[in-house]
């Protein structure tokens, strides 16, 4: 490993612009003649639109255009769609209701966009939006998924009878029921996974520019996957054909899933730019983000876990109701199905599993992937149940887990996944050691003396990353392939551009991807530029989500580097009059192994472009392209231990230590991996202790600002003790598993297991806020 190579703790190249205020986010973009948009949004959770009167708004100062859904529909702009087909167990396809970018007949959640106003200034656009007069006929709303399935619930979409989108199952129901019947012990729980708002710090934004002379559109947007945005806007929303639509996702201020999806606003800004003849920029304010960004989680489940007399798990039965909100967001259907039920085996050897999932419409914001996407829900369900089972069986939570660990690989679970590598015992041992698990009893006794309740909880998670071979996801209903592309351009002076379909919105690709090139060719990372986020520059790519940029995005780069290396060696062999098999690349030069004959890297590159002296028949230039399709998911796993101290007088929970022991396979830059874990844990702790999206019964979002929705702040969290172990992933050339989501997946059950341990109760609702904890303590007989 060189100082800038694979495995090195290299400071980030991209930091310079961010720490000096020179980052370029969508809201920083200015196009000549650009005007500003504001949306008129539904104040009701469920209502018919009786009349839209825009006369007064059109007469307001600075107003350029006021446009409605009828005009949008008349221009042939298509409905938003969900791109992953799920079939119910009776064989019928999922029941997708129509989602017009601008609602024209009915609104289905508070925040549903109805009218766009374009004006000279943002202030004027907002003033005019206030003057749009919409007459609604309010309808009964439902926000709670189980209630939406009741007969008395209002019908939200005509297409989905009883608000049921699909009723899907996975696994062997008969075998699982038999295991439960024959069990020595069955642990039963109801598990609620609370609804969250992703809250990337940069609010969503879009700038649409229609160039009349060229009949061409450009969209700057806060996207994790600009090519997918272009594809979907072309193929389904009829904005423009792909060759006439350029999508640019410049610096993007965090995504966490919420910026995967194509939302109404970017479609409407492009369309409105053509309608009004001016470039149109929209930037969400924070309350708009709370109301309209796709939310995460929101599952209600029941679980039965069966054990034999030796405390081995013999079966797992899960029934889940997933709240999808008012419309099916782009990948919503994949989250509680193939990203959830397929992970219900966890780290355990479970012979029989059956999961049933019902997806339900409600009058709330659409729900889709949020950091972890399905895997946090599976992990929470499983690890809360394991903890409860250990308490019921009177055995140590660590030993119950260890007894049931999968220990030989590959391991085929009963729910599709084939785990390729892992060492779950190693992570458990590392976490127990780092947390001084053995010393907990003494720490608890000390806390009692101080009048505090102390608890410890663990969570052994597994996740599936990279997102899988395209053919496999295609067979499961995905509308897209999940490969990645790369192009490596060696310039005539030997510097290198890597064009990638992955998108960095905080992950540090400009550094880690360059490290990969440095490792291969010895070129300093300063001479390697990573280009991403622009459909005009980069060939088709699939973007960043599911911790896939390392395992899939970098593997594509490796394939392109292989091709570059092969050609470079041929050129060098020709120049050095040596056999190409004898050429090695060392310290920035191509050498004949075992001799001092060499040609410096830049000279070889120059030779490729002067083409004066190339091997016979070789094309000039040095540029290669590759597409990489993974052969399997990757399976990062680990063990998290959380220790809490609770003040019984106030219900305030302090996390006194948090330990993470992860196995991410091989690592390119440990500093960046640690940062991913820190951030993931903070989001998981946020879910467990602080965060929750709350709608009242009428469908008003009560937590629509940072005054009401509790974001984790610096003083809510401790410094984390983290470590990694490594069983390399056999499925990709780099042995990488991925690290982006682990923290958010593994941490919530560890926190709640610790709190319930401290209080001596079976369950507590997330977020375990001080009032919830205080009430739980009061409800126990001890206090």
């Amino acid at each position: 490993m060189g100082i800038e190579g694979v495995g090195a703790r290299v400071a980030r190249k991209e930091d310079k612009r961010f720490i000096t205020g020179a980052g370029r986010y969508v809201d920083d973009m200015v196009v000549p003649g650009m005007k500003h948009a504001a949306f008129v949004r539904s104040p009701h959770a469920h209502a018919q639109i009786k009349k839209i009167d825009v006369k007064k708004a059109k007469a307001m100062p600075g107003v350029i255009g006021v446009l409605t859904g009828k005009e949008l529909k008349a221009d042939g702009i298509g409905n938003l769609i969900c791109g992953w087909m799920i079939h119910s167990k009776d064989g019928t396809p999922m029941k997708m209701g129509a989602w017009s970018p601008l609602a024209f007949d009915k609104v289905r959640y508070v925040g549903d966009a109805v009218v766009i106003v374009v004006a000279e200034t943002k202030g004027q656009a907002r003033d005019a939006a206030e003057a749009v007069d919409i007459t609604y006929k309010e309808l009964k709303a439902v926000v709670d998924a189980p209630k939406a399935l009741e007969r008395s619930a209002p019908q939200i979409h005509l297409e989905a009878d009883g608000n049921l989108i699909f009723d899907w199952e996975l696994g062997d129901s008969t075998a699982t029921n038999a295991a439960i019947k024959a069990a020595a012990h069955v642990t039963r729980m109801k598990i609620v996974n609370n609804r969250l708002v992703p809250n990337a710090m940069e609010p969503r934004a879009a700038l649409g520019h229609y160039d009349k002379a060229e009949d061409h559109y450009t969209c700057w947007t806060t996207s994790q996957n600009p090519h997918v945005a272009r594809l979907v806007m072309s193929a389904f929303y009829n904005v423009a054909p792909e060759n006439k639509l350029r999508v640019i996702a410049p610096d993007v201020g965090g995504g966490f899933g919420s910026k995967i999806f194509i939302y109404p606003e970017e479609i409407i800004c492009l369309w409105a730019s053509k309608k009004t003849g001016v470039p149109v920029k929209w930037v969400a304010d924070r309350t708009e983000s709370f109301l309209t960004d796709a939310h995460g989680r929101d599952h209600v489940s029941t679980v039965e876990m069966a054990f034999d007399k030796d405390n081995r798990i013999t079966g797992l039965k899960v029934d889940t109701i997933a709240n999808f909100g008012a419309y099916m967001s782009l990948f919503s259907s994949s989250v509680p199905t193939y990203l959830y039920a397929t992970l219900l085996s966890g780290q355990y050897d479970i012979p029989a599993i059956h999961a049933n999932v019902r997806a339900v419409y409600t009058n709330t914001a659409p729900v889709d992937a949020y950091r972890g996407a399905g895997r946090p829900e599976a992990t929470y369900l499983l690890e809360r149940t394991m903890e409860t089972a250990a308490r019921e069986l009177g055995v140590s939570p660590a030993e119950l887990r260890r007894k049931n660990f999968i220990t030989s690989f590959p391991h085929q679970t009963p729910v599709i996944m084939n785990y390729d590598a892992g060492d779950y015992g190693a992570s458990l041992d590392a976490a127990m050691k780092a947390s001084d698990y053995a010393g907990f009893a003494k720490r608890k006794a000390d806390a009692v003396k101080r009048g505090k309740l102390r608890g410890i909880g663990m969570s052994c998670y597994i996740e599936a990353c990279g997102i899988a071979p395209s053919a496999a996801v295609g067979s499961l209903g995905a509308g897209v392939g999940l490969w990645e592309s790369a192009e490596v351009r060696v310039n005539a002076v030997g510097t290198i551009e890597v064009l990638t379909g992955s998108h960095s919105h905080g992950q540090g690709h400009e550094t880690t991807f360059a490290q990969l090139v440095n490792e291969r060719f010895g070129v300093p990372i300063d001479s390697v530029s990573i280009v991403h986020g622009d459909t005009d520059k980069v060939q088709m790519g699939m973007g960043t989500y599911g911790s896939r940029s390392g395992a899939v995005g970098m593997s594509a780069i490796v394939k392109a580097l292989d091709k570059v290396e092969a050609k470079a060696k041929k050129i060098a062999a020709h120049l050095l009059e040596a056999d190409e098999g004898d050429i090695v690349i060392e310290n920035g030069a191509l050498k004949v192994a075992g001799t001092d004959k060499n040609v410096p890297w830049f000279q070889m590159a120059l030779a490729a472009y002067t083409a004066h002296n190339l091997p016979g028949g070789m094309e000039p230039g040095l540029k290669e392209t590759a597409f990489y399709d993974p052969s399997n998911f990757t399976f990062p796993a680990g063990c998290y231990i959380c220790e809490v101290e609770i003040d019984p007088e106030t219900g305030v929970t302090e996390i006194v230590q948090f330990v993470a022991a992860d196995d991410f396979g091989n690592i390119i830059n440990p500093m960046i991996v640690e940062g991913q874990v820190h951030g993931g844990i903070a989001q998981g702790v946020g879910q467990a202790l602080l965060e929750g999206a709350h709608y009242d019964a009428s469908g008003q979002l009560l937590t629509a600002s940072y005054m009401d929705y509790t974001m984790p702040r610096a003083d809510d969290l401790p410094s984390f003790k983290i470590s990694t172990s490594n069983t390399p992933c056999p499925g990709n050339p780099l042995g990488i598993k991925g690290c982006g989501e682990a923290g958010a997946i593994g941490s919530p059950p560890a926190v709640i297991n610790a709190i319930t341990d401290a209080i001596g109760i079976t369950d507590i609702a997330m977020p375990a806020s001080p009032s919830t904890v205080w009430a739980a303590i009061r409800a126990t007989t001890k206090h």
Partner: protein, 166 residues
Amino acid sequence: MSDISLTVNGRRVSGAAEDRTLLVHFLRENLGLTGTHVGCDTSQCGACVVHVDGKAVKSCTMLAVQASGSSVVTIEGLADGADLHPVQAAFKEHHGLQCGFCTPGMIMAATDMIARHPEGLDEATVRAELEGNICRCTGYHNIVKAILAASKTMAKGSKGKARQAA
């Protein structure tokens, strides 16, 4: 509309803006200083922190006209030419940023925090003082580390300068 004139990053600037214009919007839209960010509507997130007359201020809590006559430093004006400010350098060295959106506000808040604590900082103080700045990426772990490191570097630097002066 009001005429506004102030010093920003050492340069005299003036412009006209609606009375309701917030300082942050004046900086971003009139002056093109887009390093100062807007992350919320309720003065909670701290992405817009700048220094007004030497104090950290959320520039969304202040009208541009209120800042008329003041001296404002934004993230663009923090470095000394090509030399990064020690807090900027520490954020890079300790990986105190990921997406970079909260970073300008974090750095401006941190420089102010260090200046207000010449006695030095500890982790609990840094965490408590960061209460007005939200980061969604880092879990604060490396931000805290960076601020503690910068505080130490700056303490050494000021001692060095004091010795030089003596």
